[in-house]
Subunit: 388 residues, 2 copies
Amino acid sequence: MATTFVIAQGGGPTAVINQTMVGAVLDARKRHPGAHILGARHGVRGIRDGDYVDLSAVPEEQLLRIAGTPSAALGSTRDKPDAAYCDLVLAGLKKQGADAFIYIGGNDTAGTQEILAEAAGGSMAFVHAPKTIDNDLVENDHTPGFISAAEFVAGAFLSVDLDFRALPGIYVGIVMGRHAGFLTAAAAAWRFDEDSGPHLIYVPERAFSVPRFIDDVRATLDKHKRCIVAVSEGVATEDGRPLVESLVPPDRLERDAHGNLKLSGGDLGLAFEQALRDGLPGKRARVDTLGYMPRGNIATISPVDAAEAFEAGAFAVELAGKGGGSVALQFDGKKAVMRGVPLASVAGKTRHMPDDFLLPDGNNLSDAGMAYLKRLAPAKYEVGKPFV
Amino acid sequence: MATTFVIAQGGGPTAVINQTMVGAVLDARKRHPGAHILGARHGVRGIRDGDYVDLSAVPEEQLLRIAGTPSAALGSTRDKPDAAYCDLVLAGLKKQGADAFIYIGGNDTAGTQEILAEAAGGSMAFVHAPKTIDNDLVENDHTPGFISAAEFVAGAFLSVDLDFRALPGIYVGIVMGRHAGFLTAAAAAWRFDEDSGPHLIYVPERAFSVPRFIDDVRATLDKHKRCIVAVSEGVATEDGRPLVESLVPPDRLERDAHGNLKLSGGDLGLAFEQALRDGLPGKRARVDTLGYMPRGNIATISPVDAAEAFEAGAFAVELAGKGGGSVALQFDGKKAVMRGVPLASVAGKTRHMPDDFLLPDGNNLSDAGMAYLKRLAPAKYEVGKPFV
């Protein structure tokens, strides 16, 4: 059994990624008294560079305080190691005498673990523990981090909808989500009557068209006297290109080191403002980019999410004892359960919203989509219906 | 004594403006059994148009649910009545046999009440009850609505700061605030150690210069390895013009019916992105407009704010019995107290951040500024210090 653990956190932080880290540390201590537990700073980069914090003896009280704090306490990284980088990471792990490496992250992180496991050839256990606000990991019913982010988005849109009942107009909120629309869809979770917004929801799973968008907004204004729109930063046009690419001058498009287009900055918001100005001149319209607000917000940590994330960490230690794999948060029809699945089944794959979660015309959720959201994020506030 | 009350809500909604409305209704019922209490829909517009909801007999349970719900349940308006409009409003009030009109809003709302009181010549009582997330009413220590919005902003910046400890870079969050920087300053309220962001705070009370901003960011990156910036949408350049005016092409500038420049849309965010791209090329930078998120967010309603807002409504009924005036939330050195002040002392005036709340170089808060924030919004979460 493993007695030296290395733990790291990768990708975009969440509100509960530290729960998973602390869940793993405390479970490893319990199962393996005297275990040596190292936290690598900034993901695989810390392993490559030998930059660790020794978690073996950090007081439990301190760890629990960290567990309740959003974002990655060990730091994170966007590095996607190639073969040469993986060799360095493997050498780093061996140098520490690691028996298991638990890496908390999304599908890229699972991919890194798959490569490392192959290269290590069974000499140590590689475990991927899930986290992502995007909720886009296959094999998972939902992912730790999603519910907290979803509740932020649900509360924000409920609040903005109330605001626009008082002072009518058009509101567009741009929500993180490159390929999967789950977090944007969460805007609808807390609608409380037939009049409630968001009235329109656009996700990357459906082609976006500006003329259709303007028609949709116009029809909504006729019906509701206001129009609340939730849109994913990653919405794409019919030809599969990100909307931002067709709206923004090419010289202003930004890409990261992996060639990923920067999606959600001012450019997309401005493009929406412009489209509304042109398509519905004279209408009061406001566009906000929610940006980083939802992903690790300390005010909206869901206790359910926190508990599941902690459990995922503990389960990762159990999987390490079984040779490794990916922790999957599945649904048994009644409740969420942790299961071990092969790294290869999660690595590099993206889970999209199921087709039947969306209405055919692609601008709203179906009953099935709403049922899924309401199961994960049931209404939290009792709303007094306004008089207008 | 007044037995027919008209109540209305004006200006931008807040998280607790319904507390004030319900506080007034319930107190009027208690002091004046059998009172006729009318809620005007969409502020003075509802009085002008005869559009009311009868609040005399709405069940207390329903009212308390509304009190706990953000935004203006009676609807709001941006109308600033001129003399002719005021005549119509006064006629409308007389038609209802109103003994008192309680109008909940900011300094424009107080201004409307002052004009109406003058025109009515003592025939009925006009009361202004304060609300604004901007915290910019003179005579007030702070205003109902501010603390809830401030806590949203404090939590958002605490969270983003933790995010950027994990994945370093530059973050700029643009916060509502046309003339007063209180809400932007609130970003600093929950800093928990010497390293905490926001590291730079720019408010309308100090002239903003792009080159100095770039220098400030560069110096912060050297010191903290990341840079978190809170900036008011209303920051202005040395010549007193809004920053957005000097950064955005004139044909894209938008103004509302009152000639107020639209400040916080994508344009300003984009301008900051551009400034950072030019001034610090190659640095990871992210700009979010918090926009509507803070102002009536259901997830961050402060119980203190809610209680004070309710009390302000009740006190408005008391003032109505004394001939009218403006409810002021003052500080007696130990606690917040309600006092009545003349409408004229609040109407149309803007309270700015006191000079000594800001450091001389204008990019951060002084100890006095921090003490004020910490008195109103003491730390709410115990943060576990990250390992990076």
